[in-house]
Symmetry: C2
Subunit: 369 residues, 2 copies
């Protein structure tokens, strides 16, 4: 595959993102110079094949990718713009506005700077978790500084495309508002809900079903990293949280009314409809999340099948799904607490559900829904 | 399988839960009498095999299961206690305290009443969605009225066990506090987060990743049903929402401080640690959710593999996982927006990950993480 990125590329910060950028570029034969204040992180990145530690005799980089923690990104970008006066410099921090504001304040050369944010990550961090396909199929926001040279924008866009990502042009403020709603708010909501589970007794936690598991899954995130991200996007996150608080206040007031009433007909006027509106607004919002392949969300039919919890059973089931000529759109496995059996929830196009149900039943599977 | 439930069992309300109870009991040969104010729902329940519509010459039921909407449950239970003076009466409403309070207020015979709540459901509702295995492996809360006769408690417990559920004894207040935290709060949080997506532009929504999808999945729930549930558990839900609001206020204040600061070192003392504490409390809470098979939560290693989006590929992959001798603990499929390829995230015991990685690579799979 021929690629558009012109090297050498200097990667500053060899954690998960930086080392993955290096790995992806090395796969295409691009020269990658690595730098990191941690000698361990630098050596690990080299060992996984992300590039070569930068040295004094290195040729000047054409592109510098700053993959430092959010709170030091602006300082590092500024230093790189000065140290490499002909290079295009980008960063991959998950917040863009404050980096741009700090660079403006420091009178940095913003013609050569283009902010960016690949929407990729994983549970593990550090260079040993790096993989060249980290960015595959992920949106990668390209945030023009407002005065970025078109060639600089093209260079960063080429980097995203060469790493398999889907470039999305947004300015820094648009980006920060978007991630406040689609990333930072969900993270905080998951954390606040999960925090309420901390002091429950075991019997209460035993009632936890798939819903609370879904809502709180990302609550296992790193506090230091998220504090840094949220603080860097403080204004945009605050703004969306204030809206949530207003909705929450409405629901709390409605529940106060409902708690005082002796029956539904006795609840203060408007209280029940406030609650119903909150749930309906959620219906409308979740329906807007794009579905598979970036298309509009599509309603699938779910066929649920009991699967004995032993090796090979799930493969056998999916083999039978394939043999029935049905394309599986999604799959969730739910393990029943205390039972050696799970339920595989197979999502298929609505027209295929009945056929699949019949075929699996004929093959001896217990279809439960 | 010999069962302990003694019939006839009268099921009042033949929606998803009532019809599933009937189906499960009919499978064991128990006589089931069905009643529902909707003649359509009643006929559908009969047609799916949930029992026989109740008639004037029916023998007296030994057990009555009230599966009515939450807001009418107490009235129906009271009427059934009067109409069937020798029967044990239970209900399956998702809130227990207000039912008991109304029955107490009406001086109902609470010796023959035992509240209950099977923690089961599905996206579809109504008798046509009923399945006998709906309760399999699910917790089923048994809430003694405080003066319930031990035989009445045993009868309801037997019902739960005979339907494959795991009975859990709790009083009504304990139950309501537990579901406020593990079910009603997550539902509201999902709705409030999803509501913020309603007015975003398409570009912003295009950045939605797996996190926000998980957090908002249950936001697609029915507003009428949830308004009724939340209003019926108003006090307990209000109490946990007030705690969440207090945490939220703290985070908003901290973000206000952070937004005013020119850098991390300049943020008002305590603000950053307030944010970090909120995320850490979430870490602690999510870690308490019981894991697979009801045991303590276990950390799995995840092996991620690229899977072409065509029929049979996933089955082939899982066949290779089985051939490698590795037991799959969980599986998530993630479709990359705009690409004809997905990523299967295979959870395995930590000791098996490297072996599986090597085996799958040897079989030609592209392991990305």
């Amino acid at each position: 595959m021929s690629i558009a990125t012109r090297g050498p590329v200097r990667v500053v910060g060899t954690g998960l993102l930086g080392a993955s950028v290096g790995l992806g570029l090395r796969r295409h034969g691009v020269e990658v110079q690595l730098a990191d204040p941690s000698r361990t992180a630098l050596a690990l990145a080299r060992d996984v094949g992300a590039g070569t530690p930068a040295g004094p005799d290195d040729p000047e980089p054409a592109l510098v990718v700053v993959a430092a923690p959010p709170d030091v990104t602006a300082d590092v970008v500024r230093a790189e713009l000065v140290a490499h006066p002909t290079a295009v410099v980008t960063d991959v921090a998950s917040v863009k506005g404050y980096v741009l504001a700090e660079l403006r304040g420091a009178r940095a050369d913003l013609r050569r700077y283009v902010g960016s944010h690949p929407m990729a990550g994983r549970e593990r961090s550090g260079p040993s978790a790096a993989v060249p396909d980290l960015f595959l199929g992920r949106p990668w926001v390209i945030a023009d500084s407002g005065v970025s040279h078109p060639d600089a924008v093209l260079a960063v866009r080429a980097l995203a495309v060469d790493l398999g990502a889907l470039p999305v042009a947004m300015d820094a403020a648009e980006h920060d508002a978007a991630v406040a709603s689609v990333s930072h708010l969900p993270q905080l909501a998951a954390s606040l809900v999960a925090a309420r589970l901390r002091d429950l007794d075991d019997a209460a936690l035993g009632l936890a079903g798939p819903g609370v598991r879904d809502v709180t899954r990302i609550a296992a995130s790193d506090p230091a990293l998220w504090t840094s991200i949220l603080a860097a996007n403080a204004l945009a996150v605050r703004s969306v949280l204030v809206e949530v608080r207003s909705d929450l206040d409405g629901v709390i007031a409605a529940l106060t009314d409902a708690a005082l009433a002796t029956g539904p007909e006795d609840v203060a006027p408007g209280a029940l409809s406030t609650i119903a509106r909150a749930i309906s607004a959620g219906n409308a919002g979740v329906a807007r999340i794009p579905g598979k392949h970036g298309g509009a969300q599509r309603a699938y039919s779910v066929v649920s099948v009991l699967v004995p919890d032993s090796p090979g059973e799930l493969a056998r089931l999916l083999g039978d799904v394939g043999a029935a000529g049905v394309n599986l759109e999604d799959l969730q496995i739910e393990h029943a607490a205390g039972r050696p059996v799970g339920v595989a929830e197979i999502s298929v196009l609505p027209g295929s559900a009945e056929h699949l149900h019949a075929e699996l039943t004929a093959r001896g599977w217990r279809v439960v829904r």
